[in-house]
């Protein structure tokens, strides 16, 4: 027997008796989110190379104001502040951005990775004070349900973009033809993954049936609750896949537009 004196409970930042590499997951999440934030911010301010033929980058969809043929109401509006560089993405990106920012999965993930609150389970924290989501400012996270409705609307618009991405203009004749390119598939996969992520949202699960104690009495709600719960079980997976697919879709359209890669027509 050998006695090893210690000073009781570990209290300091990062202190733990855990032997595993507890820092790996929060570090990977930190890197993943940071990459996305940096890329999305850069892409949003470019205001260029966001369309290619019938394709429209999801970062710029819906293009409410803008210079491309996809724009709903023409080019840059007069009321746009002069000090702020104009980009169609800046008008719409805050909505999906705040949907993800207030998402239950992302909240749990970035509280750990960016705020170390806690850095990982049973690992010491850097701060003594704690208010959680009990009071301002984090109590505002409860606004998540409103952004969810906007996100669902955006999915319908992105699905419409996929439909439009199936109509190619022949440069020789000017005729519009039905077809499919790799870009169409990229945009379609993006929509499917966004559907899996958004329709697995905890708030939607609550709205369609979770709020009812006797959900079985409403067969439609019961079915919807079952479907949303099924997607909700993989919410983390779809959160990451859809984040990656949105970024990849923008990158694909951007590279095609810049002439770096050629879009392959399947038919």
């Amino acid at each position: 027997m050998q006695a090893i004196p210690v000073s009781g409970v570990r209290r300091g930042f990062g202190q733990t008796a855990r032997r595993d590499r507890w820092w790996t997951t929060p570090a990977l999440i930190f890197v993943g989110f940071s990459l996305f934030i940096v890329y999305a911010t850069w892409a949003a301010f470019q205001n260029a190379h966001y369309t290619f033929g019938p394709y429209l980058s999801p970062f710029y969809s819906p293009e409410i104001f803008g210079a491309s043929s996809h724009a709903w109401f023409g080019s840059k509006p007069d009321w746009w502040p002069e000090l702020l560089p104009f980009s169609p993405a800046l008008i719409i990106l805050p909505f999906p951005g705040l949907f993800r920012f207030t998402c239950y999965y992302y909240r749990g993930a970035y509280y750990k990775s960016f705020w170390a609150d806690p850095p990982a389970c049973s690992v010491g924290e850097p701060r003594k004070g704690y208010r959680g989501e009990h009071s301002f400012p984090l109590i505002l996270q409860n606004v998540h349900r409103y952004f969810m409705w906007v996100a669902i609307l955006f999915i319908a618009l992105l699905a419409w973009d996929v439909w439009l991405a199936m109509w190619f203009t022949d440069p020789m004749t000017g005729q519009v033809q039905f077809g499919m390119g790799v870009g169409t598939l990229v945009l379609a996969v993006n929509v499917v993954l966004l559907v899996c992520y958004t329709w697995g949202c905890h708030v939607l699960r609550h709205v369609v049936g979770g709020r009812l104690n006797e959900v079985s009495k409403s067969p439609v709600c019961d079915f919807a609750y079952e479907c949303v719960s099924s997607l909700n079980g993989r919410h983390q997976l779809f959160a990451w896949c859809s984040l990656f697919s949105v970024m990849s879709s923008d990158l694909y359209v951007r590279l095609c537009s810049m002439g770096v890669i050629a879009d392959l027509r399947i038919f």
């Binding site: 027997m1 006695a3 090893i4 210690v6 008796a17 389970c121 049973s122 924290e125 409860n142």
Partner: protein, 248 residues
């Protein structure tokens, strides 16, 4: 027979103590509780350790093994790296009593503060109710809780911030509240207490409680977040509040 070193916390109720290394024989199929019992039998008969069923159903042998809150009886040695000493400590969120035993009585004091189940009027003349199995399945998950209190131990709101001093009831009792609140027959209002005095808003959904639950209850996704959404419906969302007024 192979040997392994177990670094076990020895200390009293004042919190002072030390890790003591015990080398003991290990064999295939052993769990951590078996090793602790062997140490008790051969080397440290005065070592305190709470246990009962050895089957992961009584929730008595909760401890922190290599820093992870776990049941000792459900942690097989072949899942641990035995080339290094295996540390075994009591649950650090609770006051120590002796060695691996902690005072978890706070949990039992919390429970009476949660409003009791109150069923609606009977559905039938013979005083019985009718429920769908489908609706009961949802709360049945919460009934699996064995009250090992590992979720309370790992919750940083209790462990680091001691918010239980301010009324925070912890994941175990959010599960208990959810089981009552979502019951198809229940009529009691608990959301006000959950929001105001029981600290539901302190949970920042890091899912540590879910990760340590030996019964694999989806504490965060199926109990805490649904309760948070019900609180939002009741107290924060002006649209649902307006709809409630119009319906009434």
């Amino acid at each position: 027979m192979a040997q392994a070193i177990f670094r076990i916390w020895r200390g009293g109720s004042d919190g002072a103590g030390a890790f003591v290394d015990y080398t003991t024989e290990v064999s295939e199929g052993m769990v951590v509780l078996d090793a602790v019992h062997r140490v008790q039998a051969d080397q440290a008969p005065d070592m305190a350790c709470r246990w009962n069923c050895k089957a992961g159903k009584c929730g008595s042998c909760s401890a922190e093994i290599n820093g992870n809150p776990k049941l000792m009886c459900m942690t097989r040695l072949n899942t641990l790296d035995l080339s290094e000493p295996v540390t075994i400590e009591p649950m650090r969120a609770f006051p120590p009593i002796k060695d691996l035993v902690t005072d978890v009585s706070w949990n039992f004091r919390v429970k009476p503060g949660i409003k009791k189940f109150a069923p609606r009027k009977p559905d039938a003349a013979d005083g019985t109710w009718r429920m769908s199995q489908r609706d009961i399945d949802r709360v049945q998950e919460f009934r699996k809780c064995i009250e090992c209190f590992l979720c309370q131990d790992v919750c940083h709101v209790v462990r680091e911030h001691k918010k239980h001093d301010e009324g925070f009831i912890g994941p175990r009792y959010f599960v208990y509240s959810a089981a009552l609140e979502m019951h198809p027959l229940d009529t009691t209002e608990r959301l006000g207490d959950l929001k105001n005095s029981q600290g539901l808003g302190y949970c920042n959904i890091t899912k540590c409680c879910t990760n340590v639950c030996p019964e694999h209850i989806h504490i965060t996704d199926n109990a805490i977040i649904p309760l948070k959404e019900r609180v939002v419906d009741r107290f924060y969302d002006p649209v649902t509040r307006l709809l409630r007024v119009l319906r009434s």
